[in-house]
Amino acid sequence: MMSVAKIAAIGAAAVFAALFVGWWQVDGPGADPAPGKRPMPLSSMDFSLTDQDGRDVGPETLIGEPSLVFFGFTYCPDVCPTTLSDISGWLDELGPDAEDLNTVFITVDPDRDTVETMAEYVSYFHPQIQGWTGSPDQIAAIADGFRATYEKVEGGDGSYSMNHTAGVFLFDATGRFVSIIDYHEPREFAVPKIRRAMQNRTEGAEP
């Protein structure tokens, strides 16, 4: 027969465990972005940009294959080349499967990042990586759909930098947001996340 104290202790432990699991999923590291911050499905977005080859691209360009999308700018000396190198490493690890994944770098600095600039910049990374730019309005539209933020920060000498959301967005083939791969997330976490999103594709492929 268990003592009342023992039952109370077990009960209390169970409550704490439940609270912890709840916190983990809702506010803690296991949390999805808050509802207002969760990217919209690609099918609900409306934007029109230009890829590195001068072609018009929009949400429909991405839907049909899973997608990795990252916001940045080419004048960025640290985060952007590092992330694009990380992404290149993930794509290398995916091998031939990487061809079934849209991988897009979108500039938040369209004033300086022209189509030609984006074409040259992405050419230094994995060949699967595309570079999209567009009018400031259209960049704002896609960032809004992704709930991504960016902000121009003036330097003293006429130069400027951009603060921007640095995570890599992962969408499945139907255009549904799956998760964010955090800046500098180790490859052993990133690649399985991508593979899971790519599996959704086969499951979601049935009519």
Partner: protein, 160 residues
């Protein structure tokens, strides 16, 4: 049997000898050997209009704390240490770093996503395969000039 052993020793010593010059080029130190810089590297740049970024590790082998207070480089009109921060919303920003204290026997790493040498106003492009010189300025007046190899834009670390 003995022959194989001798051969193994021989190839081992060759490996050691080959390893030596590599170690010395990866490590550069101040005259009194109290400050050691390891594994410097930079990414190549697209022309000169964008700032370049370089990384390295500084070891303080001395008996007193010392601070890294700045940078100077002929290749850059304005070289400084910057720090990347990513907030809880996942937004990254970059700002000039304060002096970085290195405790005696300690080290600091300038590495992707944290501190980096920000090379603004490039006087000439950083070209893959070439090197440039960078001077680290310390709080005790030490100025340590090091040679930084330039790797590709897509490099992830000192190994490429």
């Amino acid at each position: 049997m003995f022959k194989t052993f001798a051969k193994a020793i021989q190839s081992l010593s060759v490996a050691l000898l080959m390893g030596l010059p590599m170690a010395s080029s990866a490590q550069q130190m101040s005259d009194n050997a109290s400050i050691v810089v390891e594994n410097p590297w930079a990414r190549s740049s697209l022309g000169t209009s964008r700032p370049g970024g370089a990384y390295l590790t500084v070891l303080n082998e001395g008996s007193d704390p010392i601070s890294l207070i700045g940078l100077r480089a002929e290749i850059s009109g304005m070289a400084s240490i910057h720090e990347t921060r990513t907030n809880s919303d996942g937004v990254s920003s970059m700002a000039p770093a304060d002096d970085i204290m290195i405790p005696a026997g300690g080290m600091i790493a300038l590495e992707p996503g944290g501190y980096h040498a920000m090379l603004m106003q490039l006087q000439s492009p950083l070209v893959e395969g070439e090197t440039f010189s960078l001077t680290l300025l310390f709080s005790d007046g030490t100025e340590l000039e090091i040679t930084v190899p330039v790797l590709g834009i897509g490099a992830r670390g000192p190994e490429g």
